[in-house]
Amino acid sequence: MRSRISDAVCVLAAILVAVPLYWMVLSAVKPDGEIRSASPRPWTFAPTLDAFRRVLDVENFGRYFLNSAVVALLVVGGSIVLSFVSAVALTRFAFRGRTVLLVMLLVAQMVPVEALTIPLFFMVQSAGQVAPAFGLNQLAPLVLINLAFSLPFAIWMLRGFVAAVPRELDEAATLDGATRFQYVWRVLFPLVAPGLVATSVLSFIHSWNDFLFAKTLIYSSTDNRTLPQALLVFYQPDEQDWGAIMAGSTLMTVPVLIFFVLVQRHLVSGLAGAVKG
């Protein structure tokens, strides 16, 4: 089953795939002079946090980092609750129209949500006239939008996890006199925890990465910007501060990387579960 060629190809591919990430972190800690040198070296002997300091001091990056984190965590919280109860209903309850709902869930994943920026911009604008917290330049609409757009896939994925819990357990719990509420939240919920972890990571990333809606809906408030917009500010057409851009990119990537590595196992099995559906 195994061969040296496969090992070699694996390692080579791993190196090639890792180069951009390595280069990002390396450039973030290189002194400015080395970055501006026309013959870049793949190492540095004088690592410095200057670039990070420029990013954090000059551009209020910490604030934007916090905004992004708050939005992403609210999306994750909402996504866990909403996708769990929906997945339970779709796998464990008997009702007419279930198949129709499942197909609609698939179709919902195919809608190019980017096209919806135009109507959503006007909807949020008018919502702001009634409830200012849900208007333009506020974070609340971003939470709702990112939550809604990550929900169809989260429900779809979680369905596989709920379906994997044996039905006999439903029966046993009912015979033991557990109410539905108790059973769903005390028994089922902990059992599908690995699936919830996987879906929440994907919802987190969805929200953390969102550039388009953040850019469109928070167009003038400098306080409520999120990370992707903050990075855009650094990129000037003529003279780039690559050190700062790479430091900002690193800061944006690290939380997602940590999440990914922590839940890697669940993520892989979760995706496989969703794919097998």
Partner: protein
Amino acid sequence: MTLVGERRRAADVAVRRPKTAVHLGDGRAAFRYLLPAGVLLLAVLAYPLYQLVQISLYEYNQPQASGAAPLRFLGLDNYAELVADPKFWDVLAATVVFAAVCVIGSLVVGTALAVVASRARPVPRMLLFLAALGAWATPAMAGSYVWLFLFDADLGLVNEVLSGIGFSGMEGHAWLYDRYSTFAVVAAEIIWCSFPFVMVTMYAGIKGIPAEVVDAAQLDGASWWRIATRIILPMLRPLIVIATIQSIIWDFKVFTQIYVMTNGGGVAGRNLVLNVYAYQKAFAGEEYGMGAAIGVVMTVLLLMITVLYLRAQRKAGWAP
């Protein structure tokens, strides 16, 4: 671990009971459980979709948006104007070719590496998976900047390496000056961050193939190439379909990478794709009706591609 324990206990309990399907709830309960997600999806997905179609039927520019001028119903005039515009066809063609390159690229790279990984020892395989997870996890924004920096004309690593190994003409080569090489750099970034999904999915699929099947073929003297193309790939077909559809959906509507790496669609919009085109029309050109029309075209195209693909697959013997 608790999961396994619970399962076993549940199985013991169930042994003596007749297997009748127990449902936890009925239609009324389902309604209550599905209500929150349903309301949110109706408000933020379904209603805006309806609004998108509405807006595309009106003359809806800045004066109308600010309420200074009355809305004027145009019917399909926005679409007629779009169809008559050579720029639209150019962007559409670019979008289709660009998405196709990205989809094929990530499928080929992801599947090939999954097959290789399934034959490699644990340590090299783990290295590859770690690197791939890293690429996967990198936010589109950060990835775009890193690749821009790698391909920077004067300070980039790529030109340095190329001129270092003898291509001296590549020193100072401006990758992002030409239309096609710009698209190529963006496509490379997209393949870099989207092949891991394909690889992980395919790897899980390969692991699901019974070992006896591969062993039997090996005993019969089949070469690895034959085993890969005649046994593994056909057995992976359902997964390949899903990965393909997912990739089409993702790559057809790519926005961030194009917007960031070509600075909003390139000089004179030569690196536009439909999504960015719609956005620019609406929010830079303040032609919201026209932008919405492009959005509707994109939605319809995406749904058509998906339906056609599913139908082709069903004809070939695999029903979703």
